[in-house]
């Protein structure tokens, strides 16, 4: 009974090495029903944050409506967004 984790093996579209390596932001957006405690444990699980950092990021999402939770090369950022979606969080990618 193990959940399948989504795997994104390639970045989308065709890009040069320079473009591919350019960092992208992983942005998490507020929604009115997801539990704060859930957001904290998901941030800790997916990004390895300590409790304080994960809590601060969760509060930023809650109060400001969004927070950048990671800045990564595009392919890695797409994996992060897919993992956040697999946990039911509202996440998007944005150019850094």
């Amino acid at each position: 009974m193990t959940a399948v984790q989504p795997v994104v093996t390639h970045g989308t579209g065709h890009s040069t090495t320079e473009e591919r390596d350019r960092p992208w932001q992983v942005v998490v957006w507020n929604d009115p029903v997801t539990l704060m405690s859930y957001v904290v444990v998901v941030f800790r699980r997916l990004f390895g944050y300590d409790l304080e950092t994960a809590t601060q990021l969760m509060l930023k999402v809650h109060v400001e409506g969004r927070a950048v939770v990671a800045t990564e090369p595009r392919e890695r950022a797409e994996v992060s967004v897919a993992q956040l979606h697999a946990h039911g969080l509202q996440a998007t990618l944005a150019r850094d």
Binding site: M1, A3, Q5, T34, G88
Partner: protein, 147 residues
Amino acid sequence: MAEIRREGDQTLFQLEPKERQVLLEIVDRIEPMLGSSRWVSPRAYGDEGLEREFRRLAGDDLERSRDADLATLREGLAGPLPVRLGDSDVWGWVRALNFLRLALAEQLGISEDGWEERYSPRQHRRPPLATLHLLSWLQEELIDSLA
């Protein structure tokens, strides 16, 4: 009355057969709403082309992952009582519960923080809001058991 507690490396969910039946019926009722929920399948990109490509690469895996989590929840509820869950099962349950809560809330027209104040205490005690609160309680207890 339903109770969740930690025992060694497992989480035990003690509940009555009738309570189990109620939860299974809730899952059956909400699951069909998942497919049309914007919150359950959010966009990754604003750009249409990039979004399409992202969906092509990750969409099937996301759907399989969600189905597997819902299956984990169902199988756990349908099995022997008390329900005994390892941590990976608990994660499957909390993810599945989050999807169910998102879909139900969206169906109820909940769209912004502070929605709780729009309803009377009586409305909070009756379905469908009481269903949302029950799922929230279960998810919160399971999250606590992981800590």
